[in-house]
Subunit: 342 residues, 2 copies
């Protein structure tokens, strides 16, 4: 009983065509344009393909058609859950349309970002979805020359590269401030990181709070939260609490530019003997799931990251289909989720 080593190294379309007794071209059409081939012929080709275990070479196809059916997703980091819903939205929407996605991290580093973008362009992605970074104007020409559709996410830049699916981070800060004011708190502080988006939120918060006449408003920049190469805003809670306790006149309400920061701050405050919201009110950002299941439920700002992702993908796909997109900018709605911490 001889062992049959099936070295089916790789089956090409030519072999399928030969087996089916048709030309390569007809075999190709049987897959790509089923309507352009007689039903009987098509079935013969498909049967042959199945029998031989043919898997079309998408690289060769991409090489020939100049279309990869791949989208590139550029995000700062996979560390935090901030972007996970967005990526999920992109993935779902892409999959539905038969596209695959390449994901690359910039690590908040310009050089790395360039490298990732360069790589994706080199891989001939059909479109690029990237979380907006501060430096974008100079890329505009680069993408336009290549006729590569781009959507920027998580911000609405003043000078967008191309399309946008995001929101104004200043608006998030403003929304938080409005809520703090509406709840009747007369002083507040916003704790934020050095990230562009967070700084924008902090600015918006202060601007709005002052406009509404809050007696005292502060903006507190957290030091770098990097611990052995990882950034975790959870670790900020300790610092936030320490800062608050160290103040002579404590803010009555605080806004943290991320739920993870608000979350850890909450427990630090409780441990320090302060009550939330009786002594200090607390508002986070991004509607993390844990915040909604903790008790008291965390007040936060919901960003529909999933919709932001699907919308962005749809914009790309619409552009690729040749139709003119309805609008180059899609604004994601922000929603304040009032929990029990304010």
């Amino acid at each position: 009983m001889g062992r049959t080593v099936t070295k089916t190294v790789k089956v090409t379309l030519a072999e399928v065509a030969a087996k089916a007794g048709v030309s390569k071209m007809t075999a190709s059409r049987a897959f790509a344009q089923p309507g352009a081939v007689r039903a009987e012929t098509r079935e013969r080709v498909l049967a042959a393909a199945k029998r031989l275990g043919y898997v079309p070479d998408l690289i060769a196809s991409a090489f020939s058609t100049k279309t990869t059916k791949v989208l590139g997703v550029v995000i700062p980091t996979l560390d935090v859950s901030t972007f996970s819903d967005t990526v999920r939205g992109i993935s779902d929407a892409s999959a539905k349309a038969g596209y695959d996605i390449l994901i690359g991290q910039t690590k908040y580093d310009d050089e790395t970002e360039d490298r990732v973008i360069q790589a994706f362009v080199g891989r001939r992605v059909d479109g690029l979805l990237m979380v907006a970074s501060e430096r974008q104007a100079d890329m505009k020409a680069f993408f336009r020359e290549r006729d590569l559709p781009v959507v920027q996410l998580w911000d609405i830049p003043k000078q967008p590269i191309d399309m946008v699916s995001g929101f104004l981070n200043r608006d998030a800060g403003k929304l938080a401030a409005k809520h703090v004011h509406a709840q009747g708190y007369s002083s507040a502080a916003v704790y934020h990181t050095d990230l562009y988006r967070d700084r924008q939120q902090a600015d918006g918060f202060v601007w709005q709070a002052k406009k509404l006449g809050l007696a005292q408003v502060e903006k507190v920049l957290m030091p770098s939260l990097e611990t052995h190469g990882r950034v975790s805003e959870f670790s900020a809670g300790h610092l936030v609490c320490k800062d608050i306790l160290g103040r002579t006149n404590r803010p009555r309400a605080i806004y943290c530019t991320d739920d993870s920061m608000a979350f850890s701050t909450y427990f630090e405050l409780i441990e320090a003997g302060l009550r939330v919201p009786e002594h200090i009110a607390l508002c986070g950002f991004n509607n993390a799931e844990y915040g909604q299941y903790m008790r008291p439920q965390l007040t936060t700002i919901d960003v529909d990251g999933y919709a932001m992702g699907t919308k962005a993908t749809e914009m790309i796909l619409t552009r690729l289909s040749g139709e003119p997109p309805h609008s180059g900018t899609h604004k994601t709605q922000l929603k304040l989720i009032c929990g029990q911490t304010t």
Copy 2:
């Protein structure tokens, strides 16, 4: 005033070569094998490339070399944070080696899984990293034929397809049971979902608990936690608590096969007037960050998902480099993190 449309459609290597006054081949080598070209020539080529804005076509390169420098990552879902550390590990390790990653979701559906794998194979990925699913034996031949390295993650299947970077889910359950026993609790229950990995953990937990002589051990399967297409184990807390309260003889300790379940259960229990761990001890799984920053700190089992990802990637890369891999299976260490909920 005529509008000058700069249609720099695409610069090819041939154009760069012409500009530099060398052959295509020499230009190619200037990039791929810098040592094989005279320094002066190389610089001339690189200068020409830069001047023309040349971006190498990685599709053409892949087509020619039969090597894409892309790895495929197949995970059940991007919904939950379970796999995010692993993906991050894969991404980091891949990027370091100059590889890019395609990510696809199976949605815990066999057909979808097949489609994703088929697509990745069609895209000629150099390697495949996939979270182990229950059905794998039949794929073995498929991948071997194509000489495609595969690593399965998050489990150590009895009949692995190829390489493995994971752990025995039964071991996680056992570890939890040992801890529960060591803490002196004499009865326990494990709450788990219908997922294969969770069932394995539950089995391990019961097995070990019984072996250690716990008076009473129960296994409780949670109903499907799907809500408008999304699975969230956070929503299980309510059910877990209700189940516990409904019992005549409550388990003294409970193990949830995911931190999100343990987390929401904790708050439900507290709200129901039970104290943790005085009335009921609680142990989760997967060392989610929020669990470590909440107070009381959640007892959990740490899986080094990041290392699992980097290790898996290294196994693939080693295989691709031609060296024989040290071992086909890498076992990720499990570690019990004792918080204050047990």
